[in-house]
Amino acid sequence: MLALEQVHKSYQLGAQKVQALRGLDLRIDKPGFFAVMGRSGSGKSTFLHLAAGLDRPDSGRVIVDGEDLSKLSDAKLTQFRRGRLGIVFQKFNLISTMTAFQNAALPAVIDGKPKAWIDARVNELFSALEIDGRAQHRPDAMSGGEQQRVAIARAMLFKPAVLLADEPTGNLDSANSERLWKLLGTLAQEQKITVVMVTHEPAAAAHCERVFVIADGQNKGHFEVNGLDSIGVASRYQQLGG
């Protein structure tokens, strides 16, 4: 489903060159709910950007749903993101001037799908995510949790093989966060998709089945959650050098 092989990536920050990933190897071979944990500056956001095809590695390969992203042109990459990937950001996911319905439908509108198809699919997703009453509201009239559910609906529009979430609960309270983690886990299970959540919160990772630890741009290893609580996850995370 998702594989990064010896991926290197660096950025120029002013006069300094920052090595964000140094030969990262990470493989996820099955559907499920996975976490990628790391401190700030560990390279986890870079990992997500590369996995989402938003950026290209300096070297190495990024394979998502069988496709080597590094070989795709910009146009093909764009198409790939639209049809086979879903992305949820931490905040400002939604276009502020569009309604929830319009935001969720946007990839399909860009793809040129018929109106009937769009209406049916978006309504189905809104119903499943329990936000059908908010369809005509703009983001400024919705709570953070509702906005993130709209973002998930948009990400799920084309039933992607992989859904990537970048600190999706970073702006939510604990109750909404809890609800969102459970939702992502349910999606992974019911839809049989691979959900990869980048997070620094042990409480978030505790809802996943496996946790990968990234530090200093490298994969430090992974562990199975197997019912661990957040303290347990935190402890295992620290053991792996996170």
């Binding site: 950007h49 989402a52 938003l54 950026d55 910009d74 146009a75 764009t78 198409q79 790939f80 993101r81 639209r82 049809g83 992305i87 950001f89 905040k91 400002f92 996911n93 939604l94 276009i95 502020s96 001037t97 569009m98 319009q102 946007l106 990839p107 509108v109 860009i110 793809d111 703009r138 983001p139 400024d140 948009r154 990400a155």
Partner: protein, 876 residues
């Protein structure tokens, strides 16, 4: 406060640069117009002064004809006169130089050498001044045309007179408006002209002393002078001695000349002020949209400032200071550029503007102040917006839906401003008062109102425009619509700034085109005209009558005559003169196939035959409601003010056009826009008309106009010493059309400059919008939107602005043209058909669209080059 202001500017250097560039261009335009007008005015003034001379006053014939030279001796006997010098001018003299076999048409100035240099100083480039008979000083143009030098002998065509060149003088100012000149003795000039005892002018220098104090009076002693200060000593002299002059001659004080100069200066000042006003409006709107966008972008920053205790006043004042600084910087950079451009234009036109380059400091200062004021005023609204930022709401940083009531306010206020001028015209009977309210209030309010209306039009048309554009550009309609509707005020006001240039183009070519095609081209002119400045002798008339290519002729003498109580045009600028055209009225009516607006031929001829009756042009009926039976008072040359009864009102025959074309009676630019037609008998009795100087001709169908006229020219030239010209109406129309189109093209360049300035406003808006929505664009890229789609989205947004500008700009141009037509009717009595020049509208709209897209293109290209992560990182 200054720290905040500099932070505003330095924080977004690219956008600051865009705003400063827009203001710079606006300043360049204002300064260019101010300096060019100043230079033109100076050349014009110097030309008028040089023609008027340095005397205290002069004597002339009321209609600029020759008069008896005996009057000179009479003037010299007046005790207060220190010097008096006679002058005779003869236009149209053909000079030849056998050495080079070249010839040139000149005006010969006959003067008294011992006196004349006191009145008309001459700058000699070579040689000496005239001392003896048959000597001549030629000006630079004659020298060039003949390749003449000092010592050459010049021959007058058809005469035995020879003139020896003793000196070469500098060209007078505005040479293009005058024939090349030759100065010779009065006696030589009288011989050349064939009028041994005639003069055209007597220049007078009064003795010093007596009541020598200068005082200012509002009422001039002589007719024609409308305002200005003049010497009370001169006034007293005139009052005391005017009874000594024959009734057809007058003393003319400098006030009259100054009045003529002032009128010309006033017109050009008006043009300058209109340009400055429009440029400032454009600048203000660009700064309003630019700074308002910046305030919205920086809402979080402003909220944080409020949170840490920055007073509202500081925040607001920093906005005003920012606007003022942008305007000042634009003015500082733009002023020298404007001066340099004006100097370049001057160097390209040195021949016309021969009095030198004028810096016009007052005009420049006015342009700078206007720019800075526009900047400060433009910054007021953003300042108010900034002070109203509430910290907690702003920190939430959610997009707010624009309030609908704001759009309604824009529409209502806009309509009130737009309707201000039409209501003024409807309610005010005095058209001149309405005109002075129109400039600048009415015009300014109209432009301002349409700018506000752009907001409402954008909101109203957005659904349609975004649907069409989205389809054409293959972008999601919902994305385009929401992008535009997110900030309708910014988009609308940017469209407002953009539409001004198109409005000016449409107004210029609509009004100009309608005047040309709807009025000028509908004038039923005779086929051809012959003009002889010295009048047409019976021998010349016989030659013309016998020409087999002519089917009908009519002889006319047309002179400008002062009216009482009736004037056309703007009173403070246009003098109260009309053209009195004396002819055999029966012949005249037969050959011109004239249109009757009031009265009929039979009863009109009957009444005219009784004397003291005239036909008047349609302008009398339209502008003043004067029809058959009404009385018009003319100041006659022989019997003072006399009433003439109107026997009929007729359509235009182009007589005033022909008179203007041939320069008849144009010594002091007292052009008439109206005509009265009287008999030769009344002309002789009241205006000393002796012989006609203009022939109207109908050509036979098979006759070639140019060949016929050339043949006549050759036959008639030997029989006259004055200027002889013959032109067909086809040629006259062509010339006038060419001049009109040239003027409209020059005016259009101002409109295009305004468009260029406004396009920087578009660029600023697009850059700001991209910056404000960078993360959203990153999300769009992340979820599968192509970079091409993003580019087309921004282009679509720009197109919406441009199309709204095209629609509203056309409407504004149409209104300006319509108002212009109303003023033409009410002030000048001109009526003409109305047609919108669709080709100009289409071309102008295309230019607006191309300029707007061109302005947005760099920002679009930059956006498309950015990687999605770079856009997403903008949130950090």
């Amino acid at each position: 406060m200054w720290h905040l202001a500099t932070n505003n500017l330095a924080g977004r250097p690219g956008r600051t640069a865009l705003l400063v560039t827009a203001v710079t261009l606006a300043t360049v335009l204002s300064v260019l117009v101010a300096v060019t007008i100043g230079t033109l005015q100076h050349s014009y003034t110097e030309s008028m002064k040089s023609a008027a001379g340095a005397g205290d006053l002069h004597v002339r014939h009321r209609s600029y004809q020759r008069f008896d030279a005996k009057l000179l001796e009479q003037i010299r006997t007046i005790p207060e006169v220190e010097f008096a010098a006679g002058r005779l001018e003869q236009r149209g003299v053909n000079l030849e130089l056998s050495r080079t076999k070249k010839n040139v048409i000149v005006v010969v100035h006959g003067i008294e050498p011992q006196y004349d240099r006191l009145f008309f100083p001459v700058k000699l480039l070579e040689g000496r001044y005239i001392e003896n008979e048959d000597e001549a000083v030629i000006d630079g143009r004659v020298m060039v045309a003949l390749e003449a030098k000092v010592g050459d002998e010049l021959q007058i065509e058809w005469q035995e007179t020879r003139l020896k060149v003793v000196g070469i003088s500098e060209q007078p100012p505005l040479t293009v408006l005058q024939l090349p000149g030759v100065i010779t003795t009065l006696k030589s000039a009288q011989t050349i002209a064939g009028y041994p005892n005639k003069l055209r002018k007597i220049e007078i220098k009064l003795k010093e002393g007596g009541d020598a104090a200068t005082s200012h009076s509002a009422v001039p002693a002589q007719e024609g002078g409308t305002e200005g200060a003049y010497d009370a000593r001169i006034d007293a002299f005139i009052k005391q001695h005017e009874w000594k002059l024959p009734r057809d001659t007058i003393f003319e004080p400098p006030a009259n000349v100054r009045a003529g100069i002032n009128r010309g200066v006033k017109w050009t000042n008006l043009i300058g002020q209109i340009v400055t006003l429009l440029v400032c409006l454009s600048t203000a709107f660009i700064i309003v949209t630019g700074l308002t966008t910046a305030v919205t972008e920086r809402t979080r920053e402003l909220a944080i400032m409020r949170c840490v205790g920055t007073p509202r006043l500081h925040i607001g004042a920093s906005q005003v200071a920012t606007g003022g600084f942008i305007a000042a910087l634009g003015a500082i950079i733009g002023t020298p550029l404007g001066i340099a451009l004006a100097y370049f234009i001057y160097t390209m036109n040195r021949e016309i503007l021969s009095s030198g380059f004028i810096f016009n400091l007052p005009g420049i200062i006015q342009a700078i102040i206007a720019t800075i004021v526009a900047g400060l005023l433009g910054a007021l609204y953003p300042a108010i917006m900034a002070t109203r930022v509430r910290p907690l709401e702003a920190l939430a940083a959610r997009a707010r839906q624009p309030r609908f009531w704001g759009v309604v306010v824009c529409l209502v206020v806009g309509l009130v401003c737009v309707l201000f001028e039409p209501m003024t015209l409807l309610m005010m009977e005095d058209a001149e008062q309405a005109f002075w309210i129109y400039l600048p209030w009415g015009l300014g309010a109209t432009f301002f109102g349409y700018c506000l209306i752009c907001v409402a039009v954008l909101v109203f048309l957005a659904p349609l425009l975004t649907t069409v554009i989205a389809k054409v550009l293959r972008i999601p309609r919902v994305l385009l619509h929401e992008t535009v509707m997110a900030t309708p005020f910014r988009h609308g006001l940017t469209a407002g700034a953009l539409m001004m240039g198109l409005a000016m183009l449409v107004a210029i070519w609509t009004e100009g085109g309608n005047l040309l095609h709807g009025w000028f081209n509908t004038i039923k002119m005779p086929d051809a005209f012959i003009m002889a400045s010295d009048g047409l002798s019976p021998e010349m008339m016989k030659i013309i009558r016998d020409d087999k290519n002519l089917t009908r002729i009519c002889a006319v003498r047309a002179i400008p005559v002062q009216t009482r109580g009736v004037s056309f045009g703007v009173r403070t600028i246009t003098p109260p003169f009309t053209l009195f055209a004396a002819s055999n009225v029966d012949q005249f009516l037969e050959m011109t196939d004239i249109e009757w607006l009031d009265g009929d031929k039979e009863s009109a001829l009957k009444r005219i035959a009784q004397g003291k009756a005239v036909l008047v042009g349609r302008e009398y009926l339209i502008a003043h409601g004067m029809g058959v039976g009404a009385k018009i008072t003319l100041k006659t040359f022989t019997q003072g003010d006399q009433e003439f009864e109107i026997a009929g009102v007729v359509g235009a025959v182009g007589l005033d056009v022909a008179v203007a074309h041939f320069g008849i009676g144009q010594e002091y630019a007292e052009a008439s826009v109206s005509t009265v037609f009287g008999t030769l008998e009344d002309g002789a009795t009241y205006f000393n008309i002796e012989k006609p100087d203009l022939i109207l001709m109908s050509l036979a169908k098979e006759a070639d106009d140019l060949a016929t006229l050339e043949n006549l020219r050759q036959k008639l030239s030997p029989l006259t010493r004055g200027e002889l010209r013959a032109d067909s109406s086809r040629v006259i129309r062509k010339k006038i059309q060419a001049i009109s189109i040239r003027l409209m093209t020059v005016a259009s360049s101002l409109a295009l400059s305004s468009l260029l300035i406004a396009s920087f406003g578009v660029a600023n808006l697009i850059v700001a919008e991209i910056n404000a929505r960078r993360f959203e664009y990153g999300v769009i890229r992340a979820i599968g939107g192509h970079k091409g789609m993003l580019g087309r989205l921004i282009a679509g947004q720009t197109l919406v602005i441009a199309l709204v500008a095209c629609i509203v700009g056309t409407a504004l141009g149409v209104q300006i043209a319509l108002v212009g037509q109303v003023f033409h009717r009410r002030l000048v009595g001109m009526t003409y058909g109305w047609q919108l020049p669709w080709d100009v509208v289409l071309w102008g709209s295309a230019i607006v669209i191309i300029m707007a897209l061109g302005a947005a293109a760099p920002a679009i290209a930059r956006l498309m080059r950015k990687q999605p992560t770079a856009l997403l990182a903008a949130d950090a």
